[in-house]
Amino acid sequence: MAPNTQDATERAPTRGEALEARTAGRKAEHLADAADGIVLLSVMGYLAAVFLLIGALVDASAWYYMPAKIVGLLGMMLVFGVVRDEARRKRARLGLPDVRPKEPPTFPVRMYGYALLYLGPLALLAALDVGNWELRIKVPVGVLGLAALARGAWYRRWEDIAAGAAIAALVTLALLLAPGLAFTLLFGCACVPAALAGLVKHARWRRWVRAVQTETAGSAAGEAPQP
């Protein structure tokens, strides 16, 4: 069917419309981030569960302690791929909107970015010859939290700011009040605020999709011929 071009008239934008376009761009950027909320929620929820379980159930001296952690981290990529693909398929099946965020380009790249952020402070502490392993392992997690906070402030997303602040506060409190706390337990706890941020994003996305559906249904009912 040929597209209806009846209302596609050419018209230069007014100053107000230019501002409206800018606002729409910002809204689209926020929505693109929110569309990935389900992926963030699933991956961080998975990591929290895996690390809290390993921390609580596996003795750190057991031979399978490290392999279990490595398998847990590798499983993250599987969860990411399955959830993302399934979300896209479901949206297409139901005729719902779908979008991919511009920056950072993909979720794995984001994860590698965070890994580098973790390794940076670790290398710095090693270079400074800080012998305390407690600090070497846990301080970089706090740096990750601060990075998430800074990113949230840059993009003006309160859930990222809150999650980042919670992670940084958690690490500080753990170092001050519970210095012997196992790393796996701390890491598992640190994933919880990130999972909650994903939940907030997903709720935002669902709310917008519902609003669009209601609007579409309303306009379709308005166009329907009267009996």
Binding site: P3, N4, T5, Q6, D7, A8, E10, R11, A12, P13, T14, R15, E17, A18, E20, A21, R22, A24, G25, R26, K27, A28, E29, L31, A32, R88, R89, A92, R93, G95, L96, P97, D98, V99, R100, P101, K102, P105, W208, V209, V212
Partner: protein
């Protein structure tokens, strides 16, 4: 119906300097890819209007279109091409120069 763009004035790209297309390109500039339904929801344009403007942007090479089937349902995705992104950035520069805004 033939859509004839106005001549280039003040350095503003006539293809982007149109109310609806400016809205579409502004949305696409903030995403990696967006499907037709997402553009419908964020721009508030009608299906016909959006379809016509997308065809115009695709034929100009500013937007890449990819049609796939997901679970036997057609799925159309759009992405701003490097040429489109460059043209949009140039448009924003010209717009700021004309309106005297630095940001």
């Amino acid at each position: 119906m033939t859509l004839s763009p106005a001549p280039r004035r003040n350095g503003l790209n006539p293809l982007i300097h149109e109310a609806s297309r400016l809205l579409i390109v502004s949305v696409l500039a903030e995403c990696e890819t967006a499907d037709f339904n997402f553009l419908l929801g964020t721009t508030g344009l009608t299906r016909g209007n959006l379809s016509a403007h997308m065809a115009r942007l695709v034929s100009a090479g500013y937007v890449c279109e990819s049609k796939t089937f997901l679970d036997r349902k057609p799925h159309t995705e759009y992405r701003l091409s490097p040429a489109g992104r460059k043209a949009f950035n140039q448009y924003l520069k010209s717009w700021r120069r004309l309106t005297g805004k630095s940001s």
